[in-house]
Amino acid sequence: MSEIENVSRRRFLTGGMIAAGALVLGVRYYGKLSWGDQLPHDTNADHATLHPNVYLGIEPDGTVWIVASRSEMGTTSRTTLPLVVADELDADWKRVKIEQAIGDKRYGDQNTDGSHSIRSFYDAMREAGATARFMLIQAAAREWGVPATECETDLHAVVHRATNRRAGYGDLATAAAKLPVPKREELKLKPKSAWRYVGKGQVSYDLEALVTGKATYGMDARVDGMVYASVEHPPVLGGKVKTYEDKEALKIAGVRQTVSIDPFQQAPAFQPLGGIAVIADNTWAAFQGRKKLNISWDNGTNETYNSDAYKNELRATSHNPCKVVRSIGDADAVFAKGGKIHEADYYVPLLAHASMEPMVALAEFKEGKATLWAPTQNPQAVQDIVSKELGIPKEDVICHVTLLGGGFGRKSKPDYVAEAAVLSKKMGRPVKVVWTREDDIKFDYYNAVASMYMKASLGANGKPTAWLQRSVFPPIPSIFDVNTVYGDPAHLQQGWTDIPYDLSNLRIENGPAKAHVRIGWLRSVANIYHAFAIQCFTDELAHATGRDPLDYVLDLIGNPRTIDFKGVEYPNYGASMEVYPWETGRLRRVTEMVAEKSGWGKRKHGKGTGVGIAAHRSFLTYVATVVAVEVNDQGEVRIPRVDTVLDAGLVVNPEATRAQFEGAAVFGASVVRSGEITATKGAIDQSNFQDYPVARIGEAPYQTNVYIVDSDAPPAGVGEPGVPPFVAAFSNAIFAATGKRVRDLPITKLGLS
């Protein structure tokens, strides 16, 4: 239940952004509000039950302030959520100013991940806009002495057509601020036909700043008196400094001193990794000083980790019975009967995020309080970890969120921000920590390495009579508890327990794997390796039985139905199964549509060319993708065309959604072509773009066509769901073009050349 309260007369918001007398609304969930005379970062017990998720202010001059509470890393959520508010408010977008929120639990969840910004905040944003609109109408009606029901709004103004009167929102703001806030039941949301912006979209609010170099990322944050820091981390996770010598480092011009950072206490979570920081007058001097450090390390227990041997261990585990996470019928009984059996192992290595902006944060610890400027996806997690590291109350941690130079899940983990805070406290002055690209690649929270074993028994028509799938991967919760070895429901659900096929005998298993590096969320997470295994295995079965891959996958998806997860732990991405049921008919529809759009079966494929298809639901969005490839005699792979169809329910910002799916194809191209992190004696082998290449312009799809299904279903995710089906479809296309089956990613060892 969300409540909205008029907080205009209370001390509110930072920086004098909202003028006195302005109408200010806070939408929040749960409980009663008791703001007292607190600034928003002064969170306390009263606030703990409040989860405001939007602030909206209207100035007497007509300016509408909308607070973006979620982080902007390129998905346009900083624009799209305020756009929903503006639509319900019937505001003129040109008069809207967006203000980025600091980390504060009153906004509700601020962890901008999981492709759920729109899904989780769409209703709240509408209510925020509708509430203000209601009050403005009431204020106008009172002033004119006419019934409110006779008034309506028309782009930033209230009008009474019968008497031809009109008042701008700015002129009404002061009077409206004196009125009681309507109850949710009193609100009248606009009908779809009256939507101004929702479904039509808008370019980024920051577009001009982005192309003129004026946008402020974490890398660009500055305060007076700040120094720069670069940190030499233990090369192996859990390692410690034995001894170190900084004499040569201190000789570098501009280097001031070195500072030791304690190693983390198990489990790592979001703590700093520890090591030696070089403090300098500029970034470059700090980098140079680091190269002159002489450190002797105690590498700890993860020194035994070698990724080649680890791959074999995962595979061996997957070849034996594991923990059953879902079972239908009796797959073993069918396998025991013999017949045509098809088996395959699939493998996806550790993947690094490699956002273009490396980790960076600026911290100022002063008078017992910490102020941070950081490109973070999760400012409340910053508050948590900085509070713990510095031993100060959470409300004394103020986290300003800059623009993010990419995130992809890495910047949900604020270890680098905590590092800056710790250093600022030690130095007694503002410190900006800048990670090098090498730090970024070597000290990531990697997408899990995963091995999948697939087995099917094929019936007369080629359809599987039994299906077994086992996945083994070090789970993300291992960063919070090092003894966690099994996949958790939140990640097993990602394209694994929810295999959408109509199968009478199905068993899904998961095996144990101990983590030796930090594992974390990366754009679409476990869906990458799960969809790769299932959708490529499907393609293999189609070819094994002489069926067309499109017809075959449609056959397996079967007739439209709602998947029954009785007895299965299926979190459904945190969404209600009633509101967001798993509807195979929608997956079927996007698959049929992408076949049509891509000209499946109609295009001629010469030597070295081919197409692949895959269909997958993730983050509540149904996607099907067809990838076309050309492989020349040198084994070089081009991607001339991608067609992708998505059903994400209501799409607020189609333009931004298309961009996300274009980008997802490029992200997926990197995964398939070259994405691979390996380790030797616990230390990561890769360091920069020469050994962790990501797709460049000629390696990316030349043209990605994105088609959005027109739907009135509730909104689902768009940032991540494009990646998993692309990875599988691209792999299947390579087989179609070359006859070489992609079972291990990346394709560098496939021998195409």
Partner: protein
């Protein structure tokens, strides 16, 4: 003492001559439009023009910038309306935007030397600039749009 011109303004630098131009621009002059992405000239986020040539400022030591004219995104057009910037907005290229300044500087240099680049020429010229968000097809389209405007 190293003398150079940055966005038309005479500057002198008496610091470490090995310091890369990028860090001079960012940390000393406070021109933060040019970005740090890799530090070794592999990603192009730091691209500026040195005497009109697209240059990776992260691997250009200050001693090599002596006597040169450096143009950064801040100086590409005083109103931020260079045809390439306009095309970038028209095609709605950026996602996170971090690499786009380098992409724009690279594209502007390309169009200075080649009025109507073909696809393969665009791909060749832009191959040193990484965009992790994956905006490449829009970059290609925007370069073509800007090329149309510049002739």
């Amino acid at each position: 003492m190293i003398q150079l011109k940055v966005n038309g303004i005479e500057q002198s630098f008496n610091g470490e001559p090995e310091m890369p131009l990028l860090w001079y621009l960012r940390d000393v002059l406070g021109l933060t439009g040019s970005k740090f992405g890799c530090g070794v000239g592999l990603c192009g986020a730091c691209t500026v023009h040195v005497n009109g040539q697209a240059t990776r400022s992260c691997v250009t030591p200050m001693r090599d910038a002596a006597g040169k004219e450096v143009t950064t995104i801040e100086g590409l057009d005083k109103n931020g309306l260079h045809p390439v910037q306009r095309a970038w907005m028209q095609i709605n290229v950026p996602q996170c935007g971090y690499c786009q300044v380098g992409q724009i500087m690279q594209a502007a240099a390309l169009l200075n030397s080649k009025k109507k680049p073909a696809d393969h020429e665009i791909d060749e010229a832009m191959s040193g600039n990484i965009c992790r968000c994956g905006t490449y097809q829009r970059i290609r389209a925007a370069i073509k749009a800007a090329a149309g405007e510049m002739t």
